[in-house]
């Protein structure tokens, strides 16, 4: 496949900002609307015609790359295509209800929330689910607060959370934010939890062990039942990071493995948009014993209909109202459309695609057998350079240099959405970039709208707000 990305520029400057295209001072009449000291009578705004505006945004979109253009195998991120019908459902005017309306007048809304609570509980093997946390990391934090409330309610003061060294950085941050000391767990030679190290790490101070399964290398933690028993025997809880749930969907459930708490990344597993910082959702499921600590409100079904309620020993709110409602609508729509068979088919194809792709690339994959993702190594070539060169072959590259267990790692997760032709394009990009000359790697990318980025200057002199755009330095 040949690839040349659109590149609108003039004098080496990219498509200008709207404010650079035009700035017109508009007079407005704010008399009597608000106190005078809070209002302005003049605003400087870009005054452009609709076609000018449409071209601006279309040009920007052409200089961008997305899963709607080609494969996006960013390992551990599960960059699924977001089906457009879920957008249609979320755009339905009936979804636009005010969150302060009385329960009796929003039975449909509450029914959907209750349905999603039930779907997720069923998928994860949990007894109760809160939909309130606004992102995956917020879900982790919520889950750890629930664990803390549980221990405290028993007068059990514990200080540590155990996390494998290969875990997502958010695990460490969530545990630390909740006030815990983090105990880092090394991996064994096979890339799984080191059982001897785990045995040594577990103590009466262990509040929880945080795991993802399959782990960051895509490997199933075969000892999970023993691990759960060890943690529970010491009075600790087992936390499941839902990052890799796409590998198990419809086939195995964290609750059945002995996990007590889990979060779901709906932007990964259930195909809602990856936020770009926008509204997201990170629901949290728990076993029966922990349900009373979940955030408020939850939704339950009574003889009189659906109602919102506050769990008995709730940790309080972690976000406003029911959470980011429209994201939840999209997740619900996705699950309902796929059904049991569709979800199980998604995980099967995700695993098949990862294994087919790995079989077609010339890079070594040191750890296996793997599920939905694999960590290839670019050996003596720099993984970031190979990744940048892959851009020139028209694909998004994998996650690079993580997990650190694999040197020059290229963590690759094609997801179930790619067909054979697109997996072959990906394999070609891997192999061609890997075989290219040093010079080609060091100067890549050359066919994208943005070329080699000066990462050193970006890190040493970051411009972190729009106001910095005026800095010449």
């Amino acid at each position: 496949m040949n690839f040349d990305q659109a590149r609108f520029s003039r004098d080496d400057e990219y498509e200008p900002l709207l404010s650079e295209k035009d700035s017109t001072t508009v007079e407005v009449d704010s008399e009597g609307v608000l106190p005078d000291d809070l209002t302005r009578d003049e605003l400087t705004l870009p005054a452009l015609s609709e076609p000018q505006l449409a071209r601006h945004y279309t040009r920007l979109s052409q200089m961008n790359y997305s899963v709607e253009l080609g494969p996006y195998p960013l390992g551990s991120c599960t960059m699924k295509y977001n089906p457009s019908f879920t957008e249609d459902v979320a755009a339905d005017p009936n979804a636009g209800v005010h969150p302060d309306r009385s329960d009796r007048t929003i039975q449909g809304t509450l029914g959907l929330l209750h349905g999603l609570q039930e779907y997720l509980a069923d998928i994860g093997g949990m007894d109760a689910v809160t939909l309130q946390p606004p992102a995956g990391a917020a879900g982790e934090f919520t889950g750890i607060l629930v664990a803390k409330a549980y221990h405290e309610s028993r007068g059990d003061d514990r200080s540590e959370i155990i996390i494998p060294s290969s875990a997502h950085g958010t695990n460490f941050a969530s545990a630390a934010m909740a006030g815990y000391d983090v105990v880092e767990l090394p991996s064994d030679d096979d890339g799984r939890v080191d059982m001897e190290a785990l045995d040594a790490a577990i103590s009466e101070e262990t509040a929880a062990l945080m795991l993802t399964n399959p782990n960051t290398l895509g490997l199933f933690e075969r000892d999970i039942v023993d691990i759960a028993e060890m943690v529970h025997d010491a009075g600790g809880l087992l936390y499941y990071d839902g990052a890799n749930l796409n590998a198990l969907l419809g086939r195995a459930r964290p609750g059945d493995m002995g996990f007590d708490i889990m979060h779901y990344n709906v932007h990964k597993t259930f195909a809602t948009p990856h936020g770009g910082g926008g509204p997201g959702a990170g629901p949290v499921g728990v076993v029966e014993e922990l349900a009373e600590f979940l955030p408020s409100p939850m939704v339950r079904e009574t003889a009189a209909g659906y109602e919102q309620y506050e769990p008995e020993s709730s940790i309080g709110k972690v976000h406003g109202f029911a959470g980011n409602w429209l994201v939840l609508v999209k997740a619900y729509a996705y699950i309902a459309r796929l059904g049991d068979a569709g979800l199980a088919d998604a995980s099967a194809k995700a695993v098949l695609n990862a294994n087919y792709l790995a079989s077609q690339i010339d890079l070594e994959v040191p750890y296996g057998p793997f599920h939905h993702e694999f960590a290839a190594t670019s050996g003596d070539r720099d993984a970031a350079d190979v990744a940048k060169r892959m851009l020139d072959y028209g694909v998004h590259p994998p996650t690079t240099k993580w997990p650190e267990l694999v040197s020059q790692a290229m963590l690759t997760e094609p997801t179930e959405v790619e067909d054979k032709a697109s997996l072959d394009d990906l394999a070609h990009a891997f192999n061609a970039a890997y075989a290219d000359s040093d010079e080609a790697l060091e100067t890549a990318p050359t066919k994208t709208s943005a070329r080699r980025i000066d990462q050193v200057s970006a890190a040493r002199n970051p411009r972190l707000s729009w106001q910095a755009l005026g800095d010449d330095e």
Partner: protein, 126 residues
């Protein structure tokens, strides 16, 4: 070949310390800055902080990696090179000079005996 001055001692984790005077200086070696690549961020302790030999005292971050820094000897921090906060590139340009990190008042000078000599450190890097 990396520069390894004879007038100081080294840690296996690539920190150096001078050994003369009331206050000794601490930094990272030429080998370390080369391995790290372009340094973009440095985190150091505050003046007056007490450090124990082998204890983590800060973090150095480059485009390629984030590394912990370890104290070669025990003592009290008497000065911090604040220029590194605005110009972390000093660590790459002059690791033994302008790229120094801390000055420490040593608590126990016998700890110098546990450190690597320039010859021993050279062997380690080869």
């Amino acid at each position: 070949m990396f520069e390894i001055p004879d007038d100081r001692k080294y840690l296996e984790s690539h920190e150096w310390t001078t050994t003369e005077g009331d206050a000794v200086r601490i930094g990272i070696s030429d080998f370390a800055q080369d391995e790290l690549g372009d340094v973009v961020f440095v985190e150091l302790p505050a003046e007056g902080d007490e450090l124990a030999a082998g204890e983590e005292f800060g973090v150095v971050e480059s485009i390629k990696a984030v590394s912990d820094l370890y104290a070669p000897i025990s003592g009290t921090v008497t000065a911090v090179n604040e220029e590194l906060f605005d110009a972390p590139e000093l660590l790459n340009d002059d690791p033994y000079g302008d790229g120094w990190m801390l000055e420490l008042e040593p608590a126990d000078e016998s700890e110098f005996d546990d450190l690597l000599s320039p010859e021993e450190y050279r062997e380690q890097t080869e």
